[in-house]
């Protein structure tokens, strides 16, 4: 567990360093995910070192989002002033994105399995 967490944090740190070096607004943790994936593929690290820590973090990910959501309370005034565009855009866009992404992916997936068959 300690080994897994230490390695995850080390990959995150490498991602943060890389993010600063390339100067793009890509957060270090996403780059860290990419670096870890590469390291696993190349065989520099073994998947079993990470399994326990990853399971602990991933199965509790929802909990870590709660404080970010509580942060909404600070922007009550801005949200109250522009509640209509905010609500409509958020709700409609979320469903449209889900429908487009899911439908398109399913259609392409079906075409591919037809090609194979």
């Amino acid at each position: 567990m300690v080994r897994g967490l230490t390695l995850l944090l080390s990959f995150q740190l490498c991602g943060e360093i890389l993010s600063r070096l390339i100067g793009l607004p890509v957060p270090g943790n996403v780059l860290g995910m990419g670096l870890l994936l590469i390291a696993l593929m190349v065989g520099w690290v073994q998947i079993k070192w990470f399994e326990e820590a990853a399971e602990m973090l991933l199965s509790n990910m929802t909990l870590f989002f709660v404080p970010a959501g509580v942060g909404v309370m600070v922007y009550g005034d801005l949200i109250a002033a522009e509640w209509l565009p905010i609500t409509v855009a958020t709700v409609v866009s979320t469903f449209v994105v889900m429908a487009v992404t899911g439908k398109l992916a399913q259609k392409l997936e079906a075409e591919e399995s037809n090609d194979v068959a």
Binding site: L57, L58, P67, A68, V88, T90, T94, V96, T101, G102
Partner: protein
């Protein structure tokens, strides 16, 4: 004694975990998607803080420590991706095209609707990256002239909405494949949608995790380009 305790990180952590635990028990008892533990916990904590006259700043001392764990969690998404690499590689074309389309539609629909409804420039720009995972969305928003904390709030609201309604919505409009559902949830509702997918199906969760990273990357490049093209 009380103000001193409230201002310590212990307060924010203990409050968040206790409320979340109760919200999870409630969710298991009720069984309705609307009782989503993240949504219930967020609303309950805001009401408790407001009711108790406690400043967000005091809560955040502990809250931020829990929020920090989101960082290594995103890195840990590489683990299910690696474990499922064969499945993902098999579906690489639908995955990449689906996420690209979703990313573009997300930016255009969110900012377009806000523009049509007379939203201010700050709100339009804050809404544009709303389907991207919190850490990426905040960096993008700050860079393009949005209000980063408002973006953070909208990202969480989007995620809750997706997690609550997403699986049922996908079934209703005829999306049956686990990979396509995971892709839709990860692209539209980032980490909160992904966390929900992990409860339902491991493959869908892994695909959703991939969608978080790829949608984040695509939005990072697409959004500045679109702002340049539209002259906003």
């Amino acid at each position: 004694m009380w103000p001193e305790l409230v201002a310590s990180p212990l307060f924010g952590i203990a409050l968040t975990m206790a409320v979340y635990l109760l919200a999870q028990i409630l969710y298991q008892r009720i069984g309705s998607a609307w009782a989503n533990p993240a949504l219930v916990a967020i609303v309950t904590i805001i009401l408790l803080l407001k009711g108790g006259g406690i400043a967000y700043r005091d809560y955040a001392r502990g809250g931020d420590l829990l929020l920090f764990l989101l960082g290594p969690s995103v890195v840990a998404l590489a683990v299910p991706l690696y474990q499922r690499r064969a499945d993902l590689w098999l579906h690489k074309r639908p995955i990449l095209i689906g996420i690209f389309a979703g990313s573009l539609v997300s930016i255009l629909s969110a900012s377009g609707l806000a523009w049509l409804l007379d939203g201010s420039r700050a709100v339009i720009l804050s809404l544009a990256p709303k389907s991207v995972t919190t850490p990426i969305a905040i960096s993008i928003s700050a860079k393009i002239g949005g209000v980063a904390p408002l973006t953070a709030a909208l990202v969480v609201l989007t995620g809750c909405l997706g997690a609550v309604c997403g699986p049922q919505f996908c079934r209703r409009i005829g999306i049956r494949s686990a990979a396509a559902t995971g892709l839709a949830m990860g692209t539209a509702a980032h980490g909160i949608g992904t966390a929900r997918m992990f409860e339902i199906n491991r493959l869908a969760g892994a695909v959703a995790g991939l969608a978080i990273g790829l949608n984040g990357l695509m939005t990072t490049f697409l959004l500045p380009l679109l702002i340049y093209l539209t002259g906003l």
